[in-house]
Amino acid sequence: MIFWQKFKKQKSAVVAGIFILLLVFVAIFAPFIAPYDPYATDYSQAMMPPSPQHWAGTDIYGRDILTRIIYGTRISLSVGISSVTIGAIVGVTLGLISGFFGGFLDEIIMRSADVLFAFPGILLAIAVVAILGPGLVNVVAAVAIFSIPTFARIVRSNTLSIKESLYVRAARSMGASNNRIMFVHIMPGTLSSSIVYFTMRIGTSILTASSLSFLGLGAQPPSPEWGAMLAESRDYIGVADHLTVFPGIAIFLTVLAFNIFGDGLRAAFDPKLQ
């Protein structure tokens, strides 16, 4: 409950949290909210600026941009959340094992993390996509892979300190198994920092995924993915500015919300603050 009280004080984080809930709502109920069909082309209405019929205007094929952005929420949220969840599950498990058992296993896991760190994130993603081929599923795999090492490091360092605490020793003296100690006694203590990183990471993942789609390596047209929409708009700069503006705002606000929310969580979890 102290957590909730501390979190409530971060007004901007609360607003960001509400915005994220709203995004989830929009993503789930997209077909009921969106005014048009995201794939229906209408060349007589191509590249129309914002108007009462089309609030965000229409694209080069006459598709309603607002509708496409609404459907794009589904893609961005699911890519962001699924990739980080996969990365977190693998990373947290590896971090627990690494910190708990130490020794040879620890060496192997941490040195592999070092190697993953040797590739700047988006380049690693490009390499993965080059191997697996372009497409959203492969982008999810790529982003998941490079979320692993940070989760592993965070959880490992937490595990190292919790391992020595009295309650863990007590559990051990009562004959608890390694698995039980790792997952029931140690893991909950590592959760707060993992959750903060998880939230921040979703923002980064959405950014990376949309960048890859923009580069033509992720979602392919006619998918209403935000980055892919911006890629389509690139040839019409100066001709139809609204094509560039709205999908960008969608990415920006979504990532911003996750970052501010993550900042708020960190402040609420951090015992040093207040």
């Binding site: 040195r111 070092d114 190697v115 040797a118 590739f119 700047p120 994130g121 988006i122 380049l123 490009i126 390499a127 996509v129 080059a130 191997i131 081929g133 923002g203 950014l207 949309s210 960048s211 923009f214 580069l215 033509g216 390596l217 980055g227 911006l230 708009s233 690139r234 700069i237 100066g238 500015d241 560039t244 503006v245 999908p247 960008g248 990415i251 920006f252 990532v255 911003l256 970052n259 501010i260 900042d263």
Partner: protein, 307 residues
Amino acid sequence: MLKYFIRRCLSILPVLLVVSILVFLFVHLLPGDPARVVAGPDADEATINRIRTELGLDKSLPEQYLTYMGRLFRGDLGKSLSSKLPVAQEIALRFPPTLYLALTSLAWSIIIGILFGAYAAMHRGKWQDYTAMIVAVSGISMPQFWLGLLLMQLFAVHLGWLPVTGFTGKFKELILPSLTLGASVAAIIARFTLSSFLDVFQEEYINTARAKGLPERVVMWKHAFRNALIPVVTMVGLQFGFLLGGSVVVETVFAWPGLGRYMIESVSVRDYPVLQALLLLYSFQFVIINLLVDMLYAVINPEIRYK
């Protein structure tokens, strides 16, 4: 000090080794027969066989790796599949534009980032602090390609002040791409500088300085500034990797004739020797820059080297 440097240098060797093995295996991870992939989709059986022998693909993997590394040390990175020119030559041609872009971006983002961070720290809890940090968190959340498109739209297309795309060596052409590339780095540095200053403000020597009646200006710039910058140095180094990654996106937006755009082009035409060489180059650069940052850190912070 020397001992620390040597130890640190040796510690990156295993990382470089594993990275080189991974990059070497990259071609083998591709679906299908590597010889067929390298030969291209229209090659006949004879060409594929010739390429297989030429690349030594009929030998065992460890043997192939040694041959690959041997050629690497002689500066032979293979030939580009699309241009048929040596990859090393293609890379040398595109390296300078990327370097100019990265260095210009880094330079302005360090200066602006530190100034913003220090300014916010001086006005902790006031509107200047909040404004600086809102700008910073927005900078982090801004997709680079979108920022690039917006800047291009405004300053190049509508106002006509700056060239839209391309690079022929003029400073004017560097402005928009480096603003785009540096924005998020500047934001990250600003946030980090702020928190570093706030840590330093807790120190006893700051209290002492204030207690003996020094003006806040002197406390800030003479006592706090240098100490607050120590952790920022590490952060700047880490951001260089981010810049390398970002250059891929920004170069594509601005049709910049550098390595980043070359990488995307080679992905789309499946030019694997080029891709392999670029992956190796980028990751080696990244590891070595981190090494240099660590050393610089040891030079400015004596605590590290005596550990």
